[in-house]
Symmetry: C2
Subunit: 252 residues, 2 copies
């Protein structure tokens, strides 16, 4: 597969992308390219919009506060996103920022906050989550911005769950001797299956929440090793195992 150069300036835009197009930059984008990255007219940028793949572009002339991009050739075709929902109990802001960025790097296609009994946070700023998701995608060469779902109550998540989506939930109380074997046993077929990974609050699942999860069909309960992990660490660890055993890490 084409490998992405970590150090090319890369910008998410909303507009459709095609060769020859001119993209007006908003004030934040112009500031980022001209004053943070110190690009000059003619300098190269990669742009993507989550739908039309990645394109070469160059900065065109403009004042300090505005600017535009001229879109040139296609760089990479849009890749189909992994069908991987990341469900999590919201954290306080700085660690939530970090967790969102990490989930995007790990390829989540949807970020779903779930309100649970022992969670500490009930309100989240979806705009800020989206800004963090865009930043992570820009920095890591990812072509799709995940959906940022409205927070949902745990009971409603259980009631509305699609049973064809394998749910992997991480529970430090699980007596799992081999997490790779547990995931492998859940592989329904060699074809990719829709996946969801749930990381609970750092206070742990409430007893009725654990019971509801265990009663679900098509689920895997996983312990992530013998040490307790912070929720943002558990996110990366679980998404790595799921990616490697069930996701798209096997075809790269």
């Amino acid at each position: 597969m084409p490998r992405y150069d970590f150090h090319s300036p890369r910008l998410f835009v909303d507009a459709p992308l095609a060769a020859g197009q001119r993209l007006a930059l908003d004030a934040a984008q112009a500031n980022y390219l001209r004053n943070v990255l110190r690009l000059r007219p003619g300098d190269a940028v990669l742009v993507f919009n989550g739908r039309d793949g990645e394109w070469h572009a160059s900065l065109t002339d403009g004042g300090k506060r505005t600017g535009a991009l001229a879109v040139g050739e296609a760089a990479r075709a849009q890749t189909p996103p992994v069908n991987l929902h990341y469900l999590f109990a919201p954290l306080k802001q700085a660690r939530l920022d970090y967790m969102v960025q990490k989930a995007v790097e790990m390829g989540a296609s949807c970020l779903q906050p779930v309100l649970m009994q022992h969670g500490q946070i009930a309100r989240i700023n979806r705009d800020r989550m989206r800004a963090n998701a865009i930043e992570a995608a820009e920095q890591c060469g990812i072509l799709t911005i995940p959906d940022i779902a409205e927070p949902i109550a745990f009971d409603r998540m259980i009631a509305t769950r699609d049973p064809s989506r394998l749910l992997v939930f991480c529970d430090e109380a699980a007596d799992v001797r081999d997490p790779v074997a547990a995931l492998r046993a859940a592989r329904a077929s060699p074809a990719p299956q829709p996946l969801a990974v749930l990381i609970g609050p750092e206070g742990g699942f409430a007893a009725h929440e654990r019971a509801a999860l265990l009663a679900l069909p098509n689920r895997v309960r996983l312990a992530l090793g013998p040490r307790i992990l912070r929720a943002d660490t558990a996110a990366v660890a679980a998404l790595a195992l799921v990616g490697a055993v069930l996701g798209d890490w096997r075809d790269n």
Copy 2:
């Protein structure tokens, strides 16, 4: 295994630990317990020193700026650390702090900065690394503080390497179709083996560094999925896979 309560105040101390002992707190520890956590005389704390396991203790009377702990009963016996060295190209400070904390959570027994051609940072603050390691161990119920090694030049790391320690190095240019199978193939025996995980700089390995790594015996070259990961994300992902396939995640 005994599970750790995430929310107990937990303090690393240097002194030997035994029942009935009195531990004088230094100014920073006293400030943390009395003014940050707002504990009062008689309140419970868990203490550990990396050697003698974990002990129940309680705050004894004292002024605002000093204090002492009375050590009571043993809480957990010292566990043997995993023999897992984490080798990494130093990052800039905030992300290095984070990476150190994550490596401790993931059970690394030694943190070894390695200076590589495309690394951006050559000097590191070992005291700050140690403070971050202690903080992560305190927060996550870990009983051992990893060694913080002096930075070492890449060539010297290669020249002085113990060939009996399996080296897993993460290289986004690797053509690995199944990272779990690659790790499993490197399992020498069912017994635990000494392990090392190397995460290179975000600029990637230089050609001569990659060649030197590939020429080593007892090494595994691993790609961590089809997306590019930041170095601190790659650390958690790699340590999760290594823990699950070769480390101590299988016995918990």
